[in-house]
Symmetry: C2
């Protein structure tokens, strides 16, 4: 398929879990695609994927596959992104990267459009998508910052199996050992996401600290966390206790969440109304409930749930691409 006025779009990892959601969301949102180039490892090359009613052959990921491309979505490993993202940029494309490889590079914007779309203005070819446990979390903090800036956050996450991709979902469904998690996940809770560092935190936990500071542009924000994996297929939840510079009332916090684009307030304890992973899966909005003050103090609790495949990854990258197009920041090779 080709359309001279719409961008040429590559999707690296098109046969993966996030890649699949990305393609479905591009259809749902009528994202303009002049030509779609699904790319993958040699193993999956040759497979057919469906897009806008047509069958498209998956090609092997090579540097030359980016020739003439405008937008390249990377929904693959950090290793692939390290090797191939610069190749795409060299060929004039803008890269939207889901992996952790580029997020903390100073010249790479790390973007949640509802928070820091303006950071896109200075991109140098690569734009990073935050970790799937960070996006919704940062959005709640940014909403609250409209009332008073957060200074300290204690967070415990409940992360679903699909956060580790198709292998994660498979390991949960099959119930046994697998390659996604260090032990069976079904019927258990694992206080480990990704791998442990010397300081006793996991790489996933450190991301919550550093990425949140970068996205919110609050380098002194205190964030400490325990990240866990729970036997849920889709939807990352977190219980967040937030200290703000000035005290914020529950009513003001609820209003701030209601007013913030991309957040949905689901908060009526009397009716047992709060978001859960299962009822948030498949929804674009980050859902927030259980907003209340700590007993006898000023810190505020939030219960936040994000579809990790949508706003936590694929949706966020498409929204960034839409923002780039509307700001004239993509298709560099053609507009420069």
């Amino acid at each position: 398929m080709s359309n001279s006025t719409s961008p040429i779009v590559c999707v690296v990892g098109a046969t993966g879990m996030v890649g699949g959601v990305l393609l479905r969301l591009m259809e749902e949102r009528n994202f303009p695609v002049g030509e779609l180039r699904p790319l993958s490892s040699r193993r999956s090359a040759g497979k057919m994927i469906s897009f806008n009613g047509q069958q498209v052959a998956v090609k092997e990921l090579t540097a030359d596959a980016f020739d003439g491309a405008d937008l390249v979505f990377f929904a693959a490993t950090g290793a692939l992104s390290r090797e191939f993202a610069p190749e795409a940029v060299k060929r004039g494309a803008v890269v939207l990267d889901q992996s952790g490889r580029w997020r903390m590079e100073p010249n790479v914007p790390l973007v949640v459009p509802e928070i820091n779309a303006d950071a896109l203005e200075n991109h140098q070819g690569i734009i990073a998508i935050p970790n799937c446990s960070v996006t919704g979390f940062a959005m709640v903090l940014q909403a609250l910052a409209q009332v008073s800036p957060p200074t300290d956050v204690v967070v415990t996450t409940f992360q679903s199996a699909s956060g580790a991709g198709a292998a994660g979902t498979e390991q949960l469904r099959e119930g046994g050992e697998g390659r996604a998690f260090p032990r069976p996940l079904l019927g258990d809770v694992l206080p480990q996401c990704e791998t442990f560092l010397e300081n006793g935190y996991t790489t996933e936990e450190e991301k919550m600290l550093h990425e949140t500071r970068k996205i919110l542009d609050l380098p002194d924000l205190q964030v400490t966390m325990t990240c866990t994996r729970v036997p849920v297929e889709v939807g990352h939840a977190s219980a967040m206790l937030v200290t703000t510079k000035e005290p914020v009332s529950v009513e003001a916090a609820r209003q701030a969440v209601s007013d913030f684009p991309g957040l949905e307030l689901v908060d009526d304890p009397a009716a047992a109304l709060y978001p859960t992973p299962k009822d948030t899966a498949g929804h674009d909005a980050v859902r927030v409930g259980r907003i209340r003050l700590e007993q006898g103090g000023n810190r505020l609790w939030f219960w936040q749930v994000t579809d990790n495949l949508r706003k936590g990854s694929a949706l966020n990258s498409i929204q960034i691409a839409e923002e780039l197009l509307s700001r004239g920041l993509a298709c560099k090779a053609k507009t420069n």
Copy 2:
């Protein structure tokens, strides 16, 4: 069965989940039982239960069933306990109550033997067992208090289905709606344990504050929490962030946990070693891991897992009974 030197023991709720574990633990521990009287609602009366190789008929719970009893374990609802515990006491028995009915009464000791066994000395017939999410949590805080007293705790719990009894386990296994939880639990996380109060907290959450203060005898301790239900059969976990009066090092905290009776340190991140609900189920010890300092601060994280049916309820009540016997505080009717 009757043995003149051993206590006459009633078990109210003998056909329930905690009642069943209680009977198995009495066997395991060779708890001295002169005569066992399993009691239950009329619905379950007449059933046979096995105890120490014999079949014993379950009798209907009536006040007269306590005649001559020394120890009465209540593993039933607060409503039954409210009605029948005073009847047992009136007949000279000592009551060990698992329900929430008596815990906060000033003249009722709320006991975890490793923490406050001395509180038993002043009992007036009823002794309360803490809520199953509180016991392990309070033990970690007490261990830490041996180094420096905790002043503020932020905790998020991951509570298993069996915390709501057999109906909870059943609802989880069947995967659908049920009477234990407000919605299906399988494949989801519910940020609700028990019922909501006006202040936005659940009754379960309020217990964590008030019971912990009472057990630790720290009336000013700040505790704030989010309690959740996770799709796990047995084992309550919690992620705890603790502020202490004086800073405590990770090494000192690990040592304090190791030294504390009833706690087991399972903490070697480099080997991906930490406790989980599944591997703690069936164990008596409360297991603790992931001890680390918050990034750039002095608060300490703990990941604590308790078998909610054992140390969280049945085991704790048997340990109290053992303590009563060794202190000569049971069998009041006979010794007075």
